[in-house]
Amino acid sequence: MERKFSKFLIYLVLILGAIIMLLPFFWMFTSAFKTTQEINRFPPDMFPSHISLNNFQRAFAMAPFAKYFVNSVIVMVCSVGLTTFTSILAAFAFSRLRFPGRNAIFSSLVALMMIPFEMLIITNYTTIVDLGLWDTLPALILPFTSSIFYTYILRNFFDSVSDSLYWSARIDGSSNWRYLWKVMVPMARPSLTTIILLNALASWNSFMWPMYVISSDANRTLPWGLQVFTTEAGSYPELLMAASTVVVVPVIILFLFARKYIVRGVARGGLKG
């Protein structure tokens, strides 16, 4: 009897908590379909009276969200692709190849990880301006082509692969390059999936850096474009919610499918990173 009651209590607490966690999403999605009258009503309506894509059409007409979306995808694909490539090569060198000072260099890199990006922004901003890349998409990609953190995660995985595999491949005449791409990378698929997902999420949601280096409408990515849109559509929250929905929904779909990889990556990286 007591057991059943405590089980009931656990579920009650968890369900109430889940409702609070999901409330901002519920409010965003339902408000995205409300009319101006419905959204300015008290007590508030829980649901829109009827479903129409009107707010989405109006938001897309007022600001080029399709363009922002494409920009976000371009930046994400390029920076995730490049970061993954540089991380694989560097992690392999730090894990398998021999060169003087290898461990000392790697430890210094790990120490560099505690430097907050906020501290680098000032110089990176001037670098981008000096390179003539201010207000271009490469400005959003170039600073994010190497990552100590993802290299660190991959090196940990490469270190866990046994030496004998490497030496037997080398004796069979395989080059380091071939061994890396034919043996190591396929084996590292779970770790790679994790770092690619974490990197893609960080790129998609990136707000602060685009705010510094992008000004023109044509080069904005979604979060920064959305923030600028608030000054134009501030008096129409239903349009803001429609635009926010466009930013959030792709990520939510991704999360539903890849939750385990993302959670595992966060759990591993959070404390060791």
């Binding site: 405590s6 908590g17 901002p24 409010w27 907050p116 670098t127 602060m208 959030v248």
Partner: protein, 307 residues
């Protein structure tokens, strides 16, 4: 015969030359990015912070010294920013950790719908702070917001969340807690899963009640993880900025009353006072550095104890 041997030798020499160069070829693309966008900025920001009367356009300065630090430390907005940031950290970190310990403990029970619960609790971690921040802004609305509507059932009068100076910090803190909870829960959950189940079995054999088990076994065994989570969250909360932006339409609160340290840096940069921004960034780093040192120290002790 002799000729053949020579060519073999040369091949060996070539190969060893290549194998000496090879690691650097693998490292080159990685270090290109690191040197230009991490290493150089670190050195440069330190130097820049000591350049007095630095002009961005001419890249000139009058002399080396602590002038920028004096400007930052005597600026009333920086004082306000440090105060707000510390209050934010002191509220967000303990409250989110307490909630997260309970939720992680409950999620660690063998429940039905566990995947569903996990999805609900972890979702804010992956979604854009700007987008959900705008939703929070709408929910906080004094006249039409759902939060004041729900509070009205408890007999609470409408709260002027985002328009009154004394309510801006609570509004930011509640949003901040919601935002940081998923990460905190995940770390604590993985800490719980590392606890040897034997402890629980032993306690149950002793006939201990669940609440007693929670406080006498779970919390003490989880203490090192809880501590590390607090440090990691303190560091990230010190950098509070992106949460502020959507709530107050890019302004630091309704009456310029919600400066945070990172917002101050942003402001100095838009005013083109780059050297002042650099000094403020160094001060931010010193805070973060202190907490990182504590974190490293504690982790080393934990590893020595074999946990």
């Amino acid at each position: 015969m002799k000729k053949e041997k020579q060519s073999v030798d040369r091949e060996l020499v070539d190969r060893s030359f290549f194998s000496r160069v090879e690691p650097y070829l693998y490292l080159l693309p990685f270090f290109l990015g690191i040197v230009v966008f991490t290493l150089y900025p670190v050195v440069n920001v330190v130097l820049m912070s000591f350049k007095e009367d630095y002009s961005y356009l001419s890249r000139s300065f009058t002399q080396w010294g602590f002038g920028n630090y004096r400007i930052v430390l005597s600026n009333r907005y920086f004082g306000q920013a440090v105060g707000n940031t510390i209050k934010y950290v002191l509220l967000v970190v303990p409250i989110s950790t307490c909630i997260a310990v309970v939720v992680a403990y409950l999620l660690n029970q063998k429940l039905r719908f566990n995947a569903l619960f996990q999805t609900a609790y972890f979702l804010p971690m992956v979604t854009s702070v700007t987008a959900v921040g705008l939703s929070w802004k709408l929910m906080y609305n004094q006249n039409f917001g759902i939060i004041n509507y729900l509070l009205s059932f408890l007999g609470i009068d409408p709260v002027p969340w985002l328009v009154n100076a004394s309510w801006s910090l609570p509004a930011l803190v509640i949003f901040g807690i919601w935002n940081i909870l998923p990460f905190t829960i995940i770390l604590l959950l993985s800490g719980l899963q590392n606890i040897d189940p034997q402890y629980y079995t032993a306690a149950r054999v002793d006939g201990s009640k669940s609440l007693r088990i929670f406080f006498r076994i779970t919390v003490p065994l989880l203490a090192p993880t809880i501590f590390l989570v607090c440090i990691v969250n303190t560091i990230s909360s010190f950098k509070v900025f992106s949460e502020l932006y959507p709530l107050f339409s890019g302004k630091p609160g309704p009456f310029n009353n919600m400066y945070t340290v990172v917002y101050y840096i942003r402001k100095a940069m838009t005013d083109r006072k780059y050297a002042v921004a650099a000094a403020a960034a160094i001060i931010l780093f010193l805070f973060i550095f202190a907490f990182t040192m504590i974190q490293t120290f504690v982790r080393k002790r934990m590893e020595r104890r074999g946990q």
